[in-house]
């Protein structure tokens, strides 16, 4: 399997990245902070006031290292794309599938099947780890309800029907989510999902992790030559990475939700690391953000067995593998898209 390479997260404000041969050179206030060979990197993610020379952008493009820019608070701004990733035949195949109602429904169903199965595992793991926790009945109820929705997925109706089922499953899952938070209950709770902006600590943490995941999924899609903007479950909307959001659905429970719960329940992040702004919007402080980035990196190194490939891979490679399987489905090598299943 492809190697999971490091992501370089640059959070130091005023940092400047330049190319030195095959090495990324990071300077802050004219002082060299880091030199790292490009072949050790899979991705470079810059937060806030970080600048890059055009030559380092070129090197990233040439070596398939994704380079992206976010605001300090983790809002995506831009990604640098090199010349190699424009695969016209694959993209055409993707667009043809996206225009076909039946395929759209089938693919959306696969993704939702993955999402329901993985969300349910998050709930089941919580019951296993905290057998006597508050809300056991609610969690058990949600597990049962998700199984019933899964039964409906035996049939495929229209894409709108699939979207409806997805919404229903998400509601059931999030209704039980607050009970999965077992530590620091005064500081971390979950009433509903708020995004723009996140209005409480848990939502701020989830939003940040979802941003990191979206970036990984979008660059995995671009890496195999797919267009991250043209989705199936998500309708096209200019500026929205529809296909990246589609693939994320099945990966969120494992790569983001479960990690957020661990960080809170094990007190790796604390309430005081979250700042409530004048509008009610919650943002994380620098130290917390670094802690989360670090935990996310470590989480990606966990080894799992991919149920469809029957191969051991690191969790961080799952977006890449799923993007590849999707590409192979679009080009006609597979009879469907096998979603990632966590067990």
């Amino acid at each position: 399997m492809k190697r999971l390479l490091n992501t370089l997260y640059v959070t130091s404000q005023g940092a400047y990245l330049s190319k030195e041969g095959d090495t990324v050179h990071v300077k802050v206030e004219n002082e060299t902070k880091l030199r790292i060979p490009i072949h050790n990197l899979g991705s470079i993610v810059c937060f806030g006031q970080v600048s890059c020379s055009p030559f380092i952008m070129g090197l990233c493009g040439e070596r398939n290292v994704s380079l992206a820019f976010f605001t300090e608070n983790g809002r995506f701004m831009a990604r640098v794309e090199g010349p190699v990733s424009g695969n016209v035949l694959l993209r055409r195949a993707q667009y043809r599938k996206a225009d076909d109602q039946q395929t759209t429904g089938e693919l959306a169903r696969s993704i939702v099947v993955g999402k329901i199965a993985n969300s349910r595992i998050v709930l089941m793991r919580a019951l296993r780890d905290y057998p006597g926790c508050a809300g056991v009945e609610v969690i058990e109820g949600a597990i049962k309800k998700l199984a019933r929705i899964m039964e409906d997925m035996k049939h495929i109706y229209s894409i709108d029907w699939v979207r409806g089922k997805e919404g229903e499953a998400a509601r059931i899952y999030f209704e039980a989510f607050d009970y999965l938070i077992t530590g620091q209950k005064d500081e971390f709770y979950f009433k509903e999902r708020t995004r723009r902006p996140p209005l409480d600590n848990m939502n701020a943490l989830l939003s940040f992790l979802y941003t990191l995941l979206t970036h990984d999924v979008a660059s995995a899609l671009e890496g195999v030559g797919l267009d991250p903007a043209v989705g199936f479950l998500h309708r096209d909307r200019p500026g929205r990475p529809g296909l990246a959001l589609d693939l994320m659905e099945e990966l969120r429970p494992i790569l983001a939700d479960r990690l957020a719960l661990t960080l809170v329940n094990r007190r790796q992040v604390k309430g005081k690391g979250f700042i409530k702004r004048e509008t009610g919007a919650v943002v994380m402080d620098d130290a917390t953000r670094k802690e989360v980035l670090n935990a996310y990196q470590i989480r990606k190194r966990d080894e799992i067995t991919h149920a469809f490939l029957d191969e051991k891979i690191s969790l961080g490679l799952v977006p890449h593998v799923q993007a590849m399987l999707l590409a192979r489905y679009f080009r006609g090598d597979l009879d469907g898209y096998p979603p990632f299943r966590w067990r």
Partner: protein
């Protein structure tokens, strides 16, 4: 005769002869996994790009020569072409070189990292270079050489009638498959293990008839039946 627009890379012949699917993944789908081998190969080629022409007694070594053939529809670059001074003025194997006296016999030399391959793909690539040179220089080239990095050894390749036919067939296939734009199905073979695209091709998964539909239905069945087990 092909037009300039229709010319295809000589290097593609080597991919095509090694595996039609590998060729399609690289040239149609532009899937490319840089691994240690391809990077080493690239560095080896970059090195050969440095000097353009070197004269040493009876041998002139020219590097990075642009080549093409309208007859076979090929275009590319020869790593190294050696021009060896010949005394016989009657032969069709010599060309004159600007600034140099006498006639010189061209001989393409292709550099490959790694070990000699068991199949014929490198020979075909070399032969195609020779066929391009023959058309451009109006000579006949009897042999070339392959240089392998491991062991550092050069082997002479005779451009036999059989090899020329195989090369021509490969060039015809290359043009046909480029127009068809179809990626052949994956089929797992022993040679897959030495392919740099193994993990992008997924021959064991994509070519095994493994059904994604069945896999999805299995998940639905297990989860809705409450059968999935948390390990």
């Amino acid at each position: 005769m092909y037009t300039e627009d229709e010319l295809l890379p000589v290097s593609a012949l080597q991919h095509l002869v090694f595996c039609k699917r590998q060729w399609a993944l690289i040239h149609l789908e532009q899937v490319w996994e840089e691994n240690v081998l391809t990077i080493e190969g690239k560095q080896m080629h970059e090195k050969t790009d440095e000097i353009e022409r070197e004269v040493r007694g009876d041998v002139i070594t020219v590097r990075g020569l642009h080549i093409r053939s309208y007859k076979y529809g090929l275009v590319g670059k020869a790593d190294v072409v050696e021009f060896i001074r010949i005394s016989n003025k009657e032969t069709l194997e010599g060309v004159s070189i600007k600034g140099q006296e006498g006639l010189w016999r061209p001989m393409p030399v292709e550099y490959k990292h790694g070990k000699p391959k068991t199949d014929i793909c490198d020979e075909i690539q070399l032969c195609a270079q020779a066929m391009c040179l023959e058309e451009m220089l109006a000579v006949s080239i009897p042999r070339g050489a392959l240089f392998y990095g491991k062991p550092r050894r050069r082997s002479a390749i005779d451009f036999t009638k059989r090899l020329r036919e195989r090369t021509e067939e490969a060039a015809v296939d290359l043009h046909r498959m480029t127009i068809e734009q179809k990626t052949p199905e994956a089929q797992f073979e022993k040679k897959c293990l030495s392919c740099s695209l193994l993990k992008l091709c997924l021959p064991k998964t994509a070519g095994s008839g493994k059904s994604a539909k069945a896999y999805i239905l299995q998940i639905i069945k297990e989860v809705s039946g409450g059968e999935d087990v948390v390990l």
